[in-house]
Symmetry: C2
DNA sequence: AACCCAATGTAGGCAGCGCCAACAATGCTG
DNA sequence: CAGCATTGTTGGCGCTGCCTACATTGGGTT
């Protein structure tokens, strides 16, 4: 009879689903994410999401991809190549830690090892752009003699592992957010100077 | 009519369920773990597990606890206090990395932040015993002057974070098992000596 | 301008899931 | 040996992901 509440076609259902999914992920965790509930919240039928994501896993893969793209952007924005190594790395570490804390559930998804191989082409690309910020920093610092010589990839791995470990501890609740933030500078210092006495 | 295939009471259903659950977890991941299927495999009715675990989460919590106990034992066995700091820490790192690779799904569960607060008393204890191996190592090394002075907990955190990051990268497939093992010694060396030139 | 068709939505159904309540067998304890 | 807490079974509820069949729509072709 009256005006249709909503037009038959949504307009941009895919984006709306991703947005809703990310909200639920952040608020209530990946276990609470249901395609049917998501469809209900978005105001479409329970089968509509299937037109845009063949699978629940496909939705999770899309969230993961978006997560890496946001991470890469966050890191790139936080990197100031003009700074000396220690403050520069500290800033980058703080940015990564912030992302990890604000997106703990998403990060867990990003580190899960069960993504559809079909999605992994663009995914690998997004991962590389995230790691790229660290790799650039290491390569620059080596050129300036601020960092020991050696294979860039391995040294990047050491630095990234150290920061990811810290982030992982924070995200999993072993450290409070405040403890983690307060410890970043000291953490980076120990990473750069080592644990042996100098 | 005939002999009952199995006696009405299982004998030690709880242990059998945990064992089966751990196998499924290792083989097919936490997402594939279903109480009903587990009951089927164990040869009991679909409601029997409920007598021993009030919840699916309670089962996961029990797996987590067992995981930390096994980890603590693995680390304690791998620690040789007689060794100098670098080989000692390398051995411990190798043990942790091995655990992480062999029990990737379990480790993910152990680092999830959604455990029932009721279970967290014994859990905290088991976590402490795992971290204890690293803390002892750091404290010993400080006493011998092999490690820079400073708050033991923070330095332990730096070391543990570095190794956990490496383990996490391996477990999530960003590094192959071989790459990870091959890089352990170098990783520990960089951790101890720092990234700045000396 | 009319038509067709691919894209995108809906409706309904299926098997499996976690959880719950009611009932049955068991074996420990008096 | 009687009673009862423990531990098992059966059945059922509402939810889920996924599938198939059908409905609506708007853009591209003629």
């Amino acid at each position: 009879m009256g005006m249709p509440q909503r037009p038959y076609h949504h307009g941009d259902l895919r984006a709306a689903l991703l947005e809703g999914a990310e909200r639920t992920l952040r608020d209530r965790g990946v276990a609470a994410l249901s395609l049917r509930e998501l469809a209900r919240e978005t105001g479409v039928s329970h089968a509509a999401p299937g037109r845009h994501f063949k699978d629940k896993q496909a939705l999770l893969d899309a969230l993961t991809l978006a997560g890496y793209e946001r991470l890469a952007q966050t890191l790139a924005a936080a990197d100031d190549p003009a700074l000396p190594i220690e403050p520069r790395l500290t800033a980058l570490a703080r940015a990564y830690l912030g992302f990890a804390i604000e997106n703990a559930e998403l990060l867990e998804l990003m580190f899960a090892r069960k993504h559809d191989p079909e999605a992994s082409a663009r995914l690998t690309d997004a991962v590389d752009r995230s790691v790229g910020s660290f790799e650039r920093l290491i390569a620059d610092a080596q050129r300036r003699g601020e960092i020991v010589e050696g294979d860039v990839e391995q040294i990047t791995l050491v630095a990234a592992a150290s920061l990811h470990g810290l982030a992982s501890f924070s995200a999993s609740g072993m450290l409070t957010r405040e403890e983690a933030y307060a410890g970043v500078a000291g953490h980076v210092h120990h990473l750069l100077c080592g644990l042996k006495p100098r």
